[in-house]
Each structure stands twice: as C-alpha cells, then as structure tokens.
C-alpha cells in the first residue's frame, strides 16, 4: 500500500497504463505543459512526449471525435474534459458517435475510450462549473459510467476503464482532489459493475457514489451513536449497476436512502429507486428516500452553495424519517 492523494492516483494510474500499453494516449486542453489545472497529468508530457500527451485547441467536439476515430483504429484514448459541464458542447460525439458506433455498425468496431471529467459543487465555481451530470451518460446504451470516491478506487476503476473495450465516462470529483488514502501497489483492477460496501450495517442501506459517499459515512457514524446501524454502499459503477449488492443489502435492512449531489429530478438516484421499487419491492419496509440537490442551478454565493449541496444533516434526517 502506498499513501497518495486522489490527484496523484489519477496521475500515477495514467502513467502506469501508458507505460504498460503504448496504445494509450491522453488528449485534452492543457494536459501537457500545464499538466492540467489541478496537476492530474503533471509530468506525463515529459515522460511520454507530445505524441502521447496532446495539448489540444478548445474544441471539445474535435477532442472526442478524435478519440472516437483513434479508438476505432485500435488506440486507447484518454480524453480529458475538465468539467462535466463542458460535456454539453460535445454531447453528439458521446451520445450519437462513441456510444452507438459499435451497435450501428453491427459489431464491426470497438471504441475503447475513456473520458475523464469532474463533477461537483463546493468551491464557488457557480452554475456552469459545478454540476453533477453523470445521469445523462447512464441513459446512453453503449456507454459505461463509473465514479471514484477514494484514491484506491481511482486506481482500480481508472485502470479498468482504460483496459475496457468500450467507452467509459470516468467521473472524478473536484472537492476530493487532495483526499489522501492508501492505494494498493502493482496491478490493481476493480471490475466495472461491482459496488463496494464501505460500511457494514443492518438497519438501513445508504447508497451513494463520488464525494457524497464520505458524507454518508460521516452520517452513518452519527446515526450509530443514536442506535441506527447504517450500511453504506458506494455503487462506484453507475452503468452497469450492481443490483445484486443493492438488493442483498436491502434484504437485511428493508430501508433505502439514496444520496447524490445532482439535482433530484431525473438524477441517477431515480433509476436506482425505480429498479428497487420493482425488483426489491417485497424487501421494502418503508418508502425509498432520495437526498439530493433542489431543482435549481448551482448558485455561487458560499451561503447559497452550502444550502444547495446535500449535507450530513439532510442525510441523517432522511434516514431517521424511516424509523
């Protein structure tokens, strides 16, 4: 085990995969000389050269398009779009090209590309730089979507994403940048599609992903002091979803609280709740609660942003409402 930060894990995992496989390359804005705004690619240009670490113009459609074409030819692009908000300017390349090409072509191609991007509020970046839009990508057949909450999960999931033969949205969270954690050494792959029970419990299942997992864990500790023993599941992979893990937990607890940072309406929590309301209906002892952001854009003011982002208290209240 090595101790490293979330950002270091991103950087080191890319480095390791680029060393392992000459077909892996990185393209995006400011990934080279600058090493990305938060250092996620620092040093890679020097190590791998401008052919494999490509500083691009501000042309997101061309960046993803470049990835699609290169992937169709057998390369394994890592495409960097700094904030998930910007994915809106290259949605066609993701929705109608990367995700569909294999199917439309009757299986003739593989499109093994990774799009690395960040979600999340919390730093005063306001409405166009703070969204959590991961749900969009879960409505795109052909695409996989994963989110990492810890440095170890970064390593395991990013390695899996790069080695996957399909397009993968790799969702990072901007407030976790400096989070430190133990990271397994050597080859470490977390299979895409496996949830992680980050805290065992028996009274209620709290389910989340990305930065919110940490708030759920903190809430679970508080709840434990009040005698409620919560199980906290980090789904990690949104598509494909580890239904078995969720339903198993529910078999024990009978109660489900889903927590995410995105606005509630049509967030990915809706899909999970809907799946459970069908396949896990008989396991439920109480309504399914979602704790998520209100249906508004992300406001700038720290006072407003704090109100907007899901808090530990809101998670605790939702859990208690089930007892």
């Amino acid at each position: 085990m090595a101790k490293m930060s979330y950002i270091e894990a991103i950087k080191e995992t890319q480095r390791a995969e680029m060393q392992r496989d000459p077909n892996v390359f990185i393209a995006g804005e400011d990934v080279g000389v600058m090493g990305s705004a938060f250092g996620q690619t620092a040093g890679l240009l020097k190590e791998f050269g401008p052919q494999r670490v490509v500083d691009t113009p501000i042309s997101e459609s061309a960046i993803i398009g470049l990835g699609v074409g290169a992937a169709a030819m057998g390369l394994r692009p890592i495409l960097v779009i700094d904030f998930i908000d910007f994915m809106a300017v290259c949605m066609d390349e993701v929705l109608n090209q990367a995700s569909k090409l294999r199917y439309m072509l009757g299986g003739q191609v593989k499109i093994p590309l990774v799009i690395r991007t960040q979600i999340g509020a919390g730093i005063g970046a306001a409405a166009q730089h703070s969204q959590s839009l991961e749900a969009f990508f879960t409505h795109m057949p052909g695409m996989k979507t994963v989110a990492a909450a810890t440095p170890a999960d970064i390593k395991g999931l990013l390695t899996a994403a790069i080695r996957d033969d399909n397009p993968v949205m790799f969702i990072e969270h901007k407030t976790l940048a400096r989070l430190e954690g133990d990271v397994p050494e050597g080859d470490y792959v977390i299979p895409i599609g496996k949830a992680d029970i980050k805290r065992k419990g028996s009274d209620v299942t709290i389910l989340s992903w990305s930065a919110m997992v940490h708030k759920c864990l903190a809430a679970a500790e508080s709840l434990a002091q009040e005698g409620i023993n919560a199980e906290v599941i980090d789904i990690r992979s949104l598509v494909p979803l580890d239904k078995e893990c969720i339903l198993n937990s529910l078999g024990k607890t009978g109660r489900l609280v889903i927590v995410h940072e995105a606005v509630e309406t049509s967030g990915y929590g809706a899909e999970i709740a809907a799946m459970v309301a069908d396949q896990g209906f008989d396991l439920l002892d109480a309504p399914i609660k979602r704790v998520a952001a209100p249906f508004t854009p992300v406001p700038f003011s720290p006072v407003l942003e704090k109100e907007w982002v899901v808090s530990e208290e809101k998670i605790i209240d939702a859990v208690k409402s089930l007892f």
């Binding site: 390359f25 052919q51 490509v54 691009t56 113009p57 042309s59 997101e60 459609s61 061309a62 960046i63 993803i64 398009g65 470049l66 990835g67 699609v68 074409g69 290169a70 992937a71 169709a72 030819m73 057998g74 390369l75 692009p77 066609d92 390349e93 109608n96 090209q97 090409l101 294999r102 199917y103 439309m104 072509l105 009757g106 299986g107 003739q108 191609v109 593989k110 093994p112 057949p141 052909g142 996989k144 033969d165 399909n166």
Partner: protein
C-alpha cells in the same frame, strides 16, 4: 492525366455502378420495399469516384447520410449494401444500420453518419491513429455544403491543421442543404476559401468532372502522405433528385436543374472516353449492362437473405 485505360474504365464503371445502385434503391423505396430515409447520390458520382481512385484499402474515408456513392467508390460490396438497405442479417451491419451508417472497416470505410458534420472530427481521429502507428495512409472526410456550417467543420479542420494530420476534407457542394440554397446558408461562393482560416490549402474543382476531381485529390493525398498535412477540396455539383425520396423539391429552379442535368458527369465522361479513344460506345454499354446485372444480383441476394432474429436487438451494444 496519366491514367491507363483500365483505370479510366474503372472510373467509369464505378460511376455507373453508383448511378444504377441509386436508381434501383429509388425504385425499391418508391415500391415500398425499403424503410427509413434514403438520400441519393445521383449526379455526384464523379466526386466519390474521382477521390477514391487515389486511395488504397488501408486509406480510410468517413461518409455522410448520402453515403452510398462513397462506399461503392471505396470498394464496398454491393450485395452487403443492398442487404443492409433491406435490413437483412447479411447486410454490412447485420441490418442494424440501414442506409445511413454503413461501414466496412476492412477496407477503410469508417462509416456513413446520420448526423450532419459528425464525420469530420472522427476522420481527424483516424488520421491521428495513422500517424501514431506510423502508417503511410490518408483519410478522406466527405461532407456537404450544408455541413460546412457546422461547428464540427471548424473544429476538425483546425485540429487537423495544428496536428498536421493526413486528412483530405472533401466538400461536396451540391448547392443545397436539404431545401436551403447555398446563397441562403452562407455568403461565400467558394467553400474552399475556408481553408484560409486554418492555413490549409483550399481548392475548388468541377465536381462533375471526374478527372478534375481525381487530379485535385491526387495532389491532396500525396501532400498528406508526404507529411504536409491536410487539404480542403470543394467539388461543385448538383443532386439530381430531392434531398430524400419523397422530397417534392419546391425550392429547386427548373432552369438550374436543366442546366445541371446537362452536365451529368456520367454521359460527360463517356463522351470523353470515346473522344479520347479509351472506349467505344459499345464497350461502355457493355460495362453498364454488366453493372446492371450485378445490381440485380445484389437485389436478389438482399431479398433472399434472412431477416435478423428478434433477439439480435440485444447484441453488439458492448464489446466483451
């Protein structure tokens, strides 16, 4: 023009093959045999054929919603194409694509595309991979005058320019984006001037003259293969029919239509071939007859092919 007889007749045969394929597709569509949208290439054959005659099997193309011509010119199999139009399991894409997404990765056809302008950035990516793998190849991105107003045109040409990639951007200016005349959708006359914005050489040619297209493409391809980067070629042309089958064309001036039909690239090239003693009328007729037979065979192949199985809906979404 230093093309030998075989090559010249090959150009002719390919143009005729496209024309006959499209006329047959039209007939089938009007007869209710085909589903979906069908955008015919009739009138524009000289472009696909003139350009693709410069390409080998490892060179690639990206195509458009009006893609049959590109695919045939690049060596696509008309049996598989016709089967695909019929939605059959033996089609290029097992019936999943229909007219608008046909591809054959084995011969460098990266795919037609139903989203206008979407092929250009993908072509840049293919070229990037060629350079990455030190391949001595080139990619051609076909697109229309209408597509030249999409943001992807701009981003792709600029990206190809700064990365100095082997791409030839071929604009098929048939003077309309669906019903919208070029004069309404852009103020420039020659789309080739847009190369200026990326320091890419731009050239306008008569897109109904297969040899002129061939020449221009030859230069651009050799430029690309010599590491000199991308080019933009605009080919002026005209589509003989509506935007898709069923389009009543209220927007077309009959005089213009007449003028352009008189410049039909196929009889025009036939005349040249005969005048320059490459072939006799009888020889050309024989080519046409043999093409027609192949098209009929393709239809027979398609129509006698099995449909996909309903459960095939679920396959090919993800690679394992």
């Amino acid at each position: 023009m230093n093309l030998d007889r075989e090559k010249m007749l090959n150009l002719y045969e390919n143009m005729v093959k496209i024309r006959e394929f499209e006329e047959k597709a039209r007939e089938l569509m009007l007869g209710g045999k085909l589903a979906g949208f069908l955008h015919l290439y009739c009138g524009e054959e000289a472009i696909a054929v003139g350009v693709c005659a410069n390409l080998n099997d490892k060179d690639c193309i990206t195509s458009t919603h009006r893609g049959h011509g590109h695919i045939i010119a690049k060596g696509g199999n008309i049996d598989k194409m016709m089967a695909e139009l019929h939605g059959k399991a033996t089609g290029y894409c097992k019936g999943k694509s229909g007219s608008m997404h046909i591809a054959d990765l084995n011969i460098g056809i990266v795919g037609a595309n139903g989203i206008v302008g979407a092929g250009l950035p993908i072509a840049v990516g293919v070229a990037f991979a060629m350079r990455y793998k030190k391949m001595d190849n080139v990619v051609v991105a076909f697109f229309g005058d209408g597509a030249s107003n999409r943001g992807t045109f701009h981003e792709a040409l600029n990206m190809a320019s700064v990365l100095n990639l082997p791409v030839v951007f071929v604009c098929e200016n048939n003077h309309f984006g669906m019903s919208t005349p070029q004069s309404v959708h852009q103020k420039i006359k020659d789309i080739s001037v847009r190369g200026t914005a990326y320091d890419i050489p731009g050239k306008t040619v008569d897109g109904n003259d297969v040899l002129a297209v061939y020449e221009a493409a030859a230069q651009a391809v050799s430029r690309a293969k010599n590491g000199q980067g991308p080019s933009l070629i605009e080919c002026k042309t005209w589509r003989h029919y509506g935007h898709f089958i069923g389009d009543p064309e209220p927007y077309k001036d009959p005089e213009e239509q007449k003028k352009w039909l008189a410049r039909d690239p196929i009889p025009r090239f036939a005349k040249q071939l005969i005048e320059l003693n490459y072939a006799t009328q009888a020889e050309l007729d024989a080519i046409k007859d043999s093409v027609k037979e192949k098209i009929e065979a393709a239809v027979k192949y398609a129509q006698s092919s099995p449909d996909p199985l309903p459960e095939d809906v679920f396959s090919d979404v993800y690679a394992e």
